[in-house]
Every structure is written in structure tokens, then in C-alpha cells.
């Protein structure tokens, strides 16, 4: 038991010594090559603000097209393909029945 505690204490001391030895080398990481955030933000503000406000949100047409049961146009099916439901792309029963009755 005494021997074990001696081993544990000495290995702890050894690790402490290693930590003290390595600690000053960590200071090498204090100096970094990076972007200065304040200057980069100011540059972005002056250059990209007009374009950022002029571009509209791309998901707007998808909500307007699919309110009725009419056949979906090409534009709406391309621009909002991911948001369309199968009901929007297929003709409804009324359309089919109407076309049959028209015949």
C-alpha cells in the first residue's frame, strides 16, 4: 500500500514537472496569424451593403402560385420545386371531370 501511494505521488510529481516544462511553450500559440475582425467588418460594410439589400428572398413565388387548382406553370415548378406537394403538380378531379364532360 505504501509502495503504491509512493508510485502514485511520484508519477503525479513527474506529470507536474512535465506540465511546468511545457507551459512556457504554450505561449508560442499566443501569437497568431488571423483576420482583424473590426477592419474586415468595416470593409464589408462599405462594399456589400447595397447588393445585400437589393436581392430579394428566393422563396417568395412558391407561396403565391399554388393557391388554386390550376396547372402549375414551369416557372413555379422550377423555382419552388422542393416546396411543391404532389397535389400541386397533378390535375385535380374537378379538372379531369370538367375536361371529360367538355368532350
Amino acid at each position: 500500500m505504501k509502495k503504491l501511494s509512493k508510485i502514485v505521488i511520484n508519477s503525479g510529481l513527474l506529470m507536474l514537472l512535465f506540465g511546468i516544462l511545457v507551459f512556457p511553450m504554450v505561449s508560442v500559440a499566443f501569437v497568431k496569424l488571423g483576420q482583424n475582425k473590426s477592419t474586415v467588418l468595416s470593409a464589408q460594410d462599405t462594399q456589400t451593403t447595397p447588393t445585400a439589400t437589393a436581392t430579394p428572398a428566393p422563396t417568395a413565388p412558391a407561396t403565391e402560385v399554388n393557391n388554386t387548382n390550376e396547372v402549375v406553370s414551369e416557372e413555379s415548378s422550377q423555382s419552388s420545386g422542393s416546396t411543391l406537394t404532389p397535389e400541386d403538380q397533378m390535375p385535380s378531379f374537378d379538372d379531369i371531370n370538367g375536361s371529360k364532360s367538355g368532350e
Binding site: S5, K6, I9, N10, L13, L14, L16, L17, I20, L21, V22, F23, P24, M25, S27, V28, A29, F30, V31, K32, L33, G34, Q35, N36, T39
Partner: protein, 183 residues
């Protein structure tokens, strides 16, 4: 219970660690001011936007760290060659006692425990500078400088240890003892 050698090494390692750390921070600030670089400090340390500025500051700062370690090691080497109690000259001993500086005379245990710590720092810094030189974060000259100093210091220490071993070798009255040993 505790290992005396480990306690001694930990005790000896704290002061150089603080010195090296302080040297790093002070040298970065001073070099930046000397070259007129814009010094941006953040939570993660000093940040440089320009690669040339970063290379300059990092390289000279590492050189300053090597210099700080060399000053400490030089002091230890002078002690080990001149003020070592095993081979100090009688006249120098008398002078030191007359100057009330007998504390300068140290034994092997004191000198080599300090020497091991300082040399370990030099080896670690050599490794770090080598890795940084490979990745182009410092000038290769920094690594080569550290390498040259490490070789010189290691050689001086090995020579002193050899001298110490020779002093403590068992001596016989017969001067031809070692010549006849192989017969």
C-alpha cells in the same frame, strides 16, 4: 515518501518558466513597437493580419526566448566549470571566502538539477521552432540558431559530467593500474 529529485526539479523549473513566458510576451510587444506594426490583442493572444509581420514578430520573439534560455544556461555552465565544489581552484575558493561569497560554490546535485531543467527548456524550444519552421511559421534561421546553441550547450555539459565522473573514479596508488588492467 516524495522523490527528492523530482521536488528539486519542480522547484528549479518554476523560475525559468516564468522568465521564458515573460520574455515571449515582452518581446512580442517590443518588436511590434520597434517595427511599427499594429498590435491587435484578443482573448486568444496577439493577432497579426499580415503574414510578413507575423513571421517577423514570431521569429524574433522565438530568438529572444532562445536568448533568455542561453543566459540562464550560461550562468549554470560558468558555475559548473568554475564554481563546482569538486574542481574549484584553491585560490578562487580563498577569494570567494574573503568576499563573503561562499554561496557561489555549489555541489553537483545543485548544479546538474538546474542544468537539466534549462537544457530541457532549450530542447523543447528547439522542437517547437523546428515544427514551426517546417510549417513556415518562423524563419528557418531561428531553428538553425537554436540547433547550434543546443549542440554547443549539450557538448559543454557532457564534457563537465565526464570530468566529474573522472574525478570520482577510484584511484589507486599504482600509476600503471589502468595499463595492467587488460593483461
Amino acid at each position: 515518501m516524495f522523490s527528492k529529485i523530482l521536488i528539486k526539479l519542480i522547484d528549479r523549473a518554476i523560475t525559468p518558466a516564468i522568465l521564458i513566458l515573460a520574455m515571449r510576451i515582452v518581446s512580442v510587444v517590443m518588436i511590434s513597437k520597434y517595427y511599427g506594426y499594429n498590435l491587435n490583442t484578443g482573448l486568444s493572444g496577439f493577432i497579426f493580419t499580415n503574414k510578413t509581420e507575423y513571421l517577423n514578430v514570431n521569429s524574433y520573439s522565438l530568438l529572444a526566448m532562445v536568448g533568455a534560455i542561453l543566459i540562464g544556461i550560461s550562468y549554470i555552465i560558468v558555475k559548473s566549470y568554475t564554481f563546482h565544489d569538486s574542481h574549484i581552484t584553491p585560490s578562487l575558493t580563498a577569494k570567494l571566502f574573503s568576499m563573503h561569497a561562499a554561496g557561489m560554490i555549489q555541489n553537483s546535485y545543485e548544479i546538474y538539477s538546474q542544468g537539466i531543467v534549462w537544457v530541457s527548456y532549450l530542447y523543447l524550444l528547439l522542437t517547437v521552432s523546428g515544427i514551426m519552421a517546417v510549417y513556415g511559421l518562423v524563419y528557418p534561421l531561428v531553428f538553425y540558431t537554436a540547433l547550434v546553441f543546443t549542440v554547443i550547450v549539450t557538448t559543454l555539459f557532457v564534457l563537465d559530467v565526464e570530468k566529474e565522473i573522472n574525478i570520482h573514479k577510484p584511484r589507486t596508488e599504482d600509476p600503471n593500474y589502468f595499463d595492467r588492467e587488460g593483461e
